[in-house]
Every structure is written in structure tokens, then in C-alpha cells.
Amino acid sequence: MTNAGPKLTLGPVLYNWPADKLRDFYFRIADEAPVDVVYIGEITCSKRVPFFSPYIPEVCERLEEAGKEIVLSSLALIMSARERKELRALTSESPWPIEANDLSAISLLRDKQHVVGPFVNVYNESTLEHFYETGASRVVLSCELPSTSIFELGKAANGRELEIQAFGRLPLALSARCYHARSHNLSKDGCQYVCELDPDGMDVRTLDGTPFLAVNGTQTMSYTVNSLLGELNHLKDIGVTHFRLWPHDMDMVEVARIFQNVLDNHEDSERAIRLLQELVTIAPLSNGFFHNTEGFRMVE
């Protein structure tokens, strides 16, 4: 895992999966998935944190034994005193590097090595440079950036680590309000954890029945499943070093193998895209943001 070539990463699970399912998921990733980096942690809702926390040490041990680099991801929207306290504990006590998903985490990690996560806005080379200069070893880019911006940022990174979101439903928006609870006529405080019912998010359709978006608790996701499989080789050439797969309730080991085969030039991307389309049954693939058009579109 120490080769300098492009690296495949597994982002944190954004959805509310039962803790034992999540543990087994990571055990299988450790044993079988050709990913170099695994991000673990609750990004979406602090109410979900207590369930999986007890499993984190054994999961990390198993992943480390398998040679994976571990990064603990922090919550994206921090408002309450409890969330701030948990963030302080995470940033001061974690034996693993942290992915900062809010400026509060960056503030606490200043001049300590960290990853700047995709929920922090990095749109240009000037902001990118500021983060590298203040302790970021890697920066994960926002999902809505077009290829022209990624090209400029790759140039500015100049060999330093730069990660893009290459697979999965895209996290498009965060809110203080829980739409999962709202759709069940519940409040966020009394949510009954209904988000657990939808391991890949709840589909949202228009009045015509057209698929529109997906809801994951307080987070709004793309309906389509982002795939930059066909763009991987170009991205490698323009300075992107890390490629993130967002976990879904599907065979992620196989998804990782498909991406790894293209990254290693063992598979041409056209055939790989066909294989991926067979595997992804929840929604069509898309790559519109990269091609500077509506995010939901698939540009061939």
C-alpha cells in the first residue's frame, strides 16, 4: 500500500446502518477490498454516534492489520454543546488522523496533520494553498466542481494529495432539519431513527413520479449515483491522487475491484462502466458536475 500511484479510498458510511452490520461491512472491507484508505465516522447526524462508537477500536484494528490507512471523519454540521464536546475529544484523543468536515475541526487541528473533507468549501487554488500551508496533508474536493476547476486545483496541488468523489450518491446539502423524520411526521428530537429504514437513502420523487433527490436524515443526496469511472485516467493525469468511493448497501468489494482495475489499467473503462451499471441497481449513474452541466446527467 505504499506505492506512489493513485489510491482508492472508502469514504465514511453516510447512512444509518445498524452497528453490527457496519462492523461486518468493515471486516469484509479489511479482508477483501482493494482500497488503500478507509475513512470511518459519523458525518451526518450526531444522534447516531453512540451506536457504532464501541465497535470502532476493533474495526480499526482489523483494518490496520490489513494494511489500510485509517482516517476518522468528523461531523459536518456542528451546532450543539454536545457536538462541540465530542469534536474536541475526537481531535485531541484520536490515535488516527482526522478528516475535518467543518471549519471548527480545522480550527482545532491547526498545524496538526489532517485531511480537509468534502464538506469544507475548496473552490480555488488560493483556498487550497491556505489549507496545505496550515497542516492539511490531503484535501477532498466538493462534488460540484467541474473538470476545469479540478484541472486548476490539480496543477496547484503540484504532487500534494488531492482527493475527488468518484463513486456513490453525492451529499448535496446539509440542514438543521431532519427530512427523514419530517417525512414520517416526526420531529428531529423524537425521530425514532427512521433513517435506518433506508440504507441508501430515501428516494424523493416529483409529483410526476420522476426520481429527483434522495434524503438521508438531515442530508440531501443526489438521486443518481455519481461515477467518474470513465474519467479516472484523465483525473490521474491532472494531479488527482486519491479517488473516493462512498459506501452503499451493495457489493462494495466488487465496486472497489472495478475501480482498481481501471486505475491499474487492467480494464478498459467502457467495459468497467458496463460492469458497474450491472452492480448499481438503485439508480442510474451520473457524472454531470464533472462535465460542467447539471449534476444528475450522464455525459457519455
Binding site: L103, N124, E144, L172, A176, R177, R182, V204, L207, T210
Partner: protein, 326 residues
Amino acid sequence: MELVCPAGTPSALNAALEAGADVVYVGFRDETNARNFPGLNFSPDELKVALAQAHSMGRQIYVAINTYPQAGNLSPWHRAVDTAADIGVDAVIMADIGLLDYTTRHHPQLRRHLSVQASASNPEAINFYRAAFDVQRVVLPRVLTVREIAELIGEIEVETEVFAFGGMCVMAEGRCSLSSYITGKSPNMNGVCSPASHVSYEQRGRKLVSRLGDFTINAYTDGESAGYPTLCKGRFIGQDGDPSYLFEEPTSLNVMSFLPELIKSGVKALKIEGRQRGKAYVAQVVSSYRRAIDAVLRGEALPDSNLGSLTEGARSTAGAYQKNWR
């Protein structure tokens, strides 16, 4: 308590000043501001006139340069900051870290406010901007309750400005790519959300359907008044198959009833949203808020304000300021 009011045109600026605005905030006529709409905003020359007028009345002008500069094309944003500094505006409102960095280095004397688009929702994030860029004020994202705002003020060293009235984002501002997912244009990159260029209305039998790009956002039957299809304020089908306002109803933010509490909490400024609004709207909202603030500061009861006709769908909410909104 400072009343900060919007103006997209010189006549709206006049209206705001006449109605009692302490500060008017404006943007340049390009992609550097988050209300980049056709026919709106100020040229450098118009800004000079506006500033002279405001200063002659003892008022102030802030300039919003609050979109995220495009990679490889930073100069329009740098030029906007340079121009604002040259003209001598009272503050610039910014969100991007690279742009704050540029401004701190090149115009250290220019007062810097943190835009709501930076979504700084806690003391650690706000203190980051203070430490790194000497930001003097933060415009708080519309995700906090009044109680949380009061607690936060005790832990930060910068002034706070909160939204009082107008359009209401239900998502954390500056962290939303819904508009670009559906239309290809986003608040952060293009200064627009659910842009008018992508809006259409279709009569289908007895229903009027509002659409944004390829998607139906709402449908209205006879007598229902049709609203603008902002994509998070439409009727959609989620869990149970029944259409509902899954994210938010078409409604406006109005914190009037929380005014005494907000003043007590130590908030420095109240902001009215709406640089895209006409002068009549601006005059009515600003004068209502002026009367209300003055009454509360004198220890009197809140006066009646008739802002109902100016709210979206004739409805208003205190939004995230009340905990049960979540």
C-alpha cells in the same frame, strides 16, 4: 442594534435609507456576489454615489463579495475587493478563505465580515476566521435557535448579525449543491439558486405546473396562487407516496416575534434579505423593522406590522430560530 438592509438598485437603496436602514448592503454587477441576477446590482460609479449618499446621512454601505472564486480565474474577485477598498466602503462581506486571505494581505484596513455563505455555526469555526483573517463580524447561518445564538455570543469575540426577514434557506447556506445538481448553476459558483432562466410554467388541464429545468417542483389547482419554483420549497413524494412539502413550505422568514429575545441575546445586527426585491418591498419591510426595533429598545410592546402580504405564499416562519422547526 443595527438594521442591515438590502438594495439591488439605486432606487431600492434610497428607499432603504429613507425607511431607516442603518446599513445598506449591495453587490457588484457580476458573479462575485450571491444575487447575480440580470438587471441587478451596482457598478463602481453607482457604488461611489451610494456611499456618498449614505455617509451624508450618517449611514453605512457594506459590499457582498460572497461567492467562491473560480479556480484559475481569481481576478474578478480580487478586482471587486480592490474596487470596494478604493471606494472606501464600510465593510466587505466574504465567504471564501482564499479571498479573505487576499483581502487581509492587500487591504488589512478594510473591515471584513464573514458571509452567511461560510456557514460558520459554532464558536470554533467563527474563532478560526477571527484568528486567521481578523474578521470583525459573522453573519450566522439560519440553522441556530435563539438560545443557541445567545450561548454562542458568549463564546466569540466578533459581532453577530442574524437574518430577520425574507427568503429562507432550509439548508446550511454555502453548503448546498442542490441547484447545480438540477440546473447546473449554484449559489457558491454562480451566485444563483433555482435561476429564473430554468423556470417554466405549464398548464396541464386544470393544473398549473411549475418546473425547474427538467423537474416538476409544484402543481396548483384552480384558485391556488402559484409560487416561484425554488427547488427545496416544492411538493414532492417521499416515504408514503403522498405529496408533501418534504423540505419546506413556500414561506418567508420573519423573526419579528423573537425581536426582544434577539436584542437581549447581544446580537449586533439584524439583516433583511432581498437584494432582488423592488423599492416598495424594501421600504415596507425596513420601516416595519425600524419601528419594531425602536419600540423594543424603548421598552415598549412590539407594534403591529403588516408584513403578511410581503411573505412568500402569505406565510412566514421563525424557521430554525425555534427548536421545533428541526
